[in-house]
């Protein structure tokens, strides 16, 4: 069986390294994107099972990526948002786009690793 696919969209390259590590060791093929524009391209071409999406990014930010995805209609991608903001507004805003998880940066990498494994075990990924 082919590996599952993930797109990691974040302008912070150290963050991409960390997440890529988590995802490759849980069996994903990872495509990296440094901003929302690249991210959308990668999502369209890869049709990933999982999208890890930063909110504050240059060129095109995470929220407008979510808007575009919503416009394009039905989407099976499991979306985890990585945000710098933990306020209620961001949570609500992000929830309207069908985002399943929101992690506030900086987060504990070991915990995220555990979460991904749990999601796989629960059959959500």
């Amino acid at each position: 069986m082919a590996n599952k696919k993930a797109v990691v969209c974040d302008d912070d390259s150290t963050m991409r390294l960390i997440i890529k590590q988590i995802l490759t060791q849980t069996g994903f093929d990872v495509v990296e994107a440094g901003n929302g524009q690249e991210g959308l391209g990668a999502i369209r071409s890869q049709k990933p099972n999982l999208l890890m999406l930063d909110i504050d990014m240059p060129v095109k930010d995470g929220l407008s990526v979510l808007e575009d995805l919503k416009k394009e209609g039905k989407n099976d991608t499991y979306i985890i948002v990585l945000s710098n903001h933990e306020d209620e507004n961001t949570r609500k805003l992000v929830a309207t786009f069908g985002v399943q998880e929101i992690w506030v940066k900086p987060f504990n990498a070991v915990e995220l690793n555990k979460k991904i494994k749990d999601l796989i075990k629960e059959g959500k990924l």
């Binding site: 912070d12 150290t14 992690w103 900086p106 990498a109």
Partner: protein, 534 residues
């Protein structure tokens, strides 16, 4: 028939006797249980009494010593200075006596528990010497350390208790030496894959001791002779405590001496060797050289919160922190501390444990809940009670370290050195764990990317300041903040956060330039650590 009746009667009698005996036994049993409970209660009460007394004595003593030291820092004439110094010295002596008595009763009650922490032998010895160096120099004595073929230096053991023993031996040497020198020698006596047997000697050129006396020295409440007590003071508990502590560590302690020539007090312990990872002691050693002796500048952008209800103690701690180069905010109780904690990203929190409204344990636990999953702020407990279980309670509440009151300057500096680190070890550990055996180079890769990319963001910040471009300032600060958070560079992270907020306000205020300057320095420290850890 009669015979039969008699037999029945005898049986009855026997059973009545039997019942009586059983009843009596039950009664006795009940009395015994009561007596046992009473005894246990009294032991508990005694322990509690001791804990309370220690707290009650230490709190005002904290004020006496602290205020005395502050007084010494003001403009006094020679006579006033002498008086103030006597107040301080007497306070310290009283404190040492209380600590010794407490330690001794703990050991006697079998309640002394040793810790097993990573430590660096050279740092232990240098630190202990530093504490007595000033008095030694004042007496015209030379003092120094010689490490002979001692590697590994990274060992495991009860650092605090070892320091206590070493300082005890050093202060004895200091007390009984009028001319010449005091030297600490450390040497390795043997080594296996997991352990290293280390012998530490404190050699002086003092009075010396006769063999008869040296036999008695390590017994409790004994000094060389009773005139010693009159001339030199002390409880006569120091060596007895040292002996018991070293024996608890499975080691030996002793003395060899030539009358009139000097004495060598030694101890040897078979220490466990440290396994791999870098801990906070190691990181701090990177900066030990830098900070030792150099006059301290105030670390303006290192945010410290002191949570303490007692006004006098507040002043003492603030003063000590200022002397160590730190400015601090103060909160009177746990509730106010929580408010401050929510508002400001602190680099370290000093937390009193006993406070009205909300105590330190609750406040620390709530802080941990608030920051769940995010960068962990070091919380240092400050407590006046020195009894066993206290430390565990602090750690269980989510605190990271512990200093007892009255706070000694050297102890405060140790703690600050340990936690004022550019890169949090816990985060490096996480990343190392994440990489595991599959990707052992992960940490190296992440650090390399940081070292490659951070300078670009820093110059962007500098340019943004020069061009008064608030938007550019926000963008660059945001990028660098994220990366700093990922590697646990707490100080850089906090500075970037402040810059981001300034950028978002739309105006590049003059403070931004100072912050960028501070950030440049902080990044320098971060690069050093990353390069060392790669």
């Amino acid at each position: 028939m009669l015979k039969h009746l008699a037999a029945i009667a005898a049986n009855e009698l026997a059973s009545i006797e039997m019942n009586k005996t059983v009843r009596l036994l039950r009664e006795r049993e009940g009395q015994l249980a009561q007596a046992r409970d009473a005894a246990l209660d009294s032991v508990r009460a005694k322990a509690e009494f001791l804990a309370n007394m220690s707290h009650e004595i230490r709190t005002p003593l904290n004020a006496v010593i602290g205020m005395g030291k502050m007084l010494l820092d003001t403009n006094l004439n020679t006579e006033q200075k002498r008086f103030a110094r006597v107040v301080c010295d007497s306070g310290e002596v009283l404190l040492a006596t209380i600590n010794n008595t407490l330690d001794f009763s703990k050991i006697e009650a079998g309640k002394m528990r040793l810790e097993n922490l990573d430590f660096d032998l050279r740092q232990l010895i240098d630190g202990a010497i530093q504490i007595v160096a000033h008095s030694a120099r004042a007496k015209g004595l030379k003092i120094g350390a010689h490490m002979e073929n001692v590697s590994p230096l990274k060992l495991r053991g009860d650092l605090g208790r070892l320091r206590q023993v070493l300082i005890n031996l050093l202060s004895n040497a200091l007390k009984f030496t009028e001319y010449g020198e005091i030297a600490v020698h450390a040497l390795k006596e043997g080594e296996t894959a997991t352990h290293a047997a280390i012998r530490v000697e404190v050699r002086d050129t003092g009075l010396g001791i006769t063999p008869e006396v040296s036999q008695k020295l390590f017994q409790a409440f004994t000094q060389a002779d009773s005139s010693t007590t009159r001339r030199y003071g002390g409880t006569g508990l120091g060596l007895a405590i040292s002996k018991r502590l070293i024996e608890l560590m499975g080691g030996a302690i002793g003395v060899s001496s030539v009358l009139g020539k000097g004495s060598t007090f030694w101890f040897s312990v078979n220490f466990e060797k440290q396994i791999e990872r870098a801990d906070c002691l190691e990181t701090s050693s990177l900066f030990a050289a830098q900070s030792a002796g150099a006059p301290l500048k105030i670390r303006r952008y290192f945010k410290v919160l002191v949570v303490e209800d007692n006004k006098i103690n507040q002043e003492v701690v603030l003063h000590q922190l200022r002397k160590a180069g730190y400015q601090a905010d103060v909160a009177d109780n746990g509730i106010k501390a929580m408010e401050a904690f929510a508002r400001v990203a602190y680099n370290v929190v000093f937390m009193d444990c006993q406070m009205p409204e909300m105590d330190g344990y609750t406040a620390a636990a709530q802080m941990r809940q608030k920051e769940a999953g995010k960068l962990r702020t070091p919380i240092i407990a400050m407590t006046a009670s020195a009894l066993e279980g206290d430390r565990e309670r602090c750690l269980r509440a989510g605190m990271d370290d512990y200093i007892s009151k009255p706070i000694a300057m050297a102890e405060l500096q140790r703690v600050l050195k340990c936690w004022d680190v550019p890169v949090a070890d816990s985060v490096c550990e996480e990343l190392r764990e994440l990489g595991g055996s599959e990707n052992p180079r992960l940490l190296h890769k992440i650090f390399s990317v940081f070292i490659d990319e951070a300078p670009r963001h820093l110059s962007a910040l500098q340019e943004a300041c020069a061009a008064n471009n608030a938007k550019a300032l926000e963008t660059a600060a945001h990028a660098l903040k994220g990366m700093s958070g990922n590697i646990g560079a707490r100080g850089a992270h906090a500075l970037c956060l402040q810059l981001m907020i300034i950028g978002r306000s739309g105006v590049v205020c003059p403070e931004a330039r100072e912050l960028v300057e501070a950030l440049a320095q902080e990044l320098g420290r971060v690069y050093d650590v990353l390069n060392a850890k790669k």
